[in-house]
Subunit: 344 residues, 2 copies
């Protein structure tokens, strides 16, 4: 069966804001039945793609960073959910028809080589749970929230959990899990619309850090009993303020420091003396450190989603050819909730 | 039996450097057999006093700090080892003849009221272990070293352990325990003489942070395999440098931040992004949080001291009347090792 494979290529490295001209939609003939596979390779039919801000950092030529650069002229990559269409040889990891998640091309059909499949997980299809959720609440962002909160913060019922960057794909899940655990949950975000969203999601209090700029004062107001757990997505000045408001034996999960990514000179955190005075635990983590506990995450969060205890907002756009335009709009903040491209 | 009790009183609050005139040696009649005791109070014969820099902070009138101020005109207090001479009523906690450690007056005879005895511990007298050690390696400084290293850093054989403020009463014990555990141990201190002392104590490398002022360069030189465990006694700029040199999954025990105690404007730590990038754990603690594990500490460190695996340097001066002069000299850095006053 020869068909058309619509793909998005990395055409040009942007300086400053990314524009659609930096990407190119290209169509090629593709025959999923005859494309050559080595033992263990698979042909995937891409169902959903996740567009995330971090990909901007990969749109460069050379240079050192956390993640590898994309290759000019080649297909861009993103987290995706896909169906296994064909398997090379008698590869054991996946079977034809399996639904999987992992890094796939921005394209309708993608070939994943055996070595790449280490990063893929089989998705258990559950009634009432959209497959796109495996790119968000049931994917890496949700698992990041779950692990940071449960493994590092270890909140107890009645404690105050504060989340910065709370309206993001991770923060929204952190807050909702903390509510399920019986905590008082406070979040901050950068627009009033996002603050409203947090309240809809059940946060006990939320504030706009761009209008309430005295962070210590804001935290004292919204966290009258102090802060027992801090899920840190932003670092910098907010982290400094949280140190001042943290209770004895507070636990901080260091997930990201988005306020610092573009800073020329990093913010100097002055209140670390509180680490000793209040005996604070602060641990940085990435979700990959906790793969051995993935089954716990899938079990608990799937249950909570099915029970309606965790809500999740998606902004779904149909068609792979829309991906460049939507990626540009991502940085204009048009989406409320996780931006998803429905490919098939 | 009426005898003389020689005591040192807090006479005047110093501004800047402490001088002998701020203290007063006073002699009063004292009868340990007839002094009135309520049930649970004890009369203690003081054997050893520990003179420590932190006491300078208590020589003030009012003002908020970590520790309570001394009272003008009253006896100064310090950590001490004492013998229980008499017990009020049938108090269960200690018996006549027990050797105990706790906060005692700078005096030959001291009365400890029942409520004060919560902070006292009975000392198991062990052959070959001087009682004064219970103010240092077998007292709070040693226990601080043991708990911070074992409970937070959890070093594994072959890992690199770095200790700042390494020639202090805590740091010297940290380094030696880490050596017993099979680690590579590196320390820093503020004089060449102290650096030599660290090498005598078995540190694999040591440097003078006042002459090697590019801390990152110094750490890269002396810790060629990076830093797995950091026992932080100083905070500030050194902490910032260690963040840059720390290995993935490094553990930092936050014991003190002496570089910041007198700073008008605290140093701003810029490299906290490393907390996430390297998944670092940083936990502040005080020894009092680990009282439930005190028996482990006493067992292990007593054994190591008896086996000669932990050495310990004391600077012992005889006579309570020498205490004011020696306390002043403490700040001139005349002592190498723990400064102890032998009272009886």
């Amino acid at each position: 069966m020869t068909t058309t494979n619509t793909r998005v290529l990395f055409k040009e490295a942007p300086e400053g804001w990314v524009e659609t001209k930096h990407m190119e939609v290209s169509k090629v003939d593709f025959n999923p039945d005859t494309v050559q596979l080595d033992v263990g390779d698979v042909v995937l039919k891409v169902l959903y793609l996740s567009l995330d801000p971090y990909m901007r950092g990969r749109m460069r030529v050379g240079g050192k960073s956390y993640s590898e650069p994309f290759k000019l002229g080649e297909v861009l990559h993103a987290g995706g959910v896909a169906e296994v269409y064909r398997v090379g040889g008698s590869a054991a990891k996946f079977q034809k028809g399996d639904i999987v998640q992992g890094m796939v091309g921005w394209e309708q059909w993608t070939v994943a080589r055996k070595g790449q499949l280490d990063g893929f997980q089989k998705v258990e299809v559950v009634e009432g749970v959209p497959l796109s959720y495996y790119l968000g609440v049931l994917g890496m962002p949700g698992m990041t929230a779950y692990m940071g909160l449960l493994k590092i913060c270890q909140p107890k019922a009645g404690e105050t959990v504060y989340v910065s960057g709370a309206a993001g794909a991770v923060g929204l899940v952190v807050g909702q899990i903390a509510k399920i655990l019986g905590c008082r949950v406070v979040g901050s975000a950068g627009t009033d619309e996002k603050v409203d969203l947090l309240k809809e999601y059940g946060f006990d209090a939320a504030f706009n850090y761009k209008t309430e700029t005295d962070f210590i004062k804001a935290l004292e107001k919204y966290c009258p009993d102090g802060i027992d757990c801090y899920f840190d997505n932003v670092g910098g000045e907010m982290l400094d303020a949280v140190l001042k408001v943290a209770n004895r034996h507070a636990r901080f999960a260091g997930c990201g420091q988005i306020s610092q990514y573009n800073a020329v000179e990093p913010y100097g955190v002055k209140n670390l003396m509180q680490m000793v005075a209040q005996r604070i635990l602060f641990e940085g983590f990435i979700v990959g450190d906790y793969m051995s506990s993935r089954a716990d995450f899938v079990r608990d969060v799937t249950k909570w989603v099915k029970e309606g205890k965790i809500k999740y907002t998606e902004h779904v756009v149909e068609g792979i050819e829309k991906a460049p335009e939507m990626f540009v709009k991502l940085f204009e903040g048009v989406n409320i909730g996780k931006l998803i491209i429905k490919v098939a």
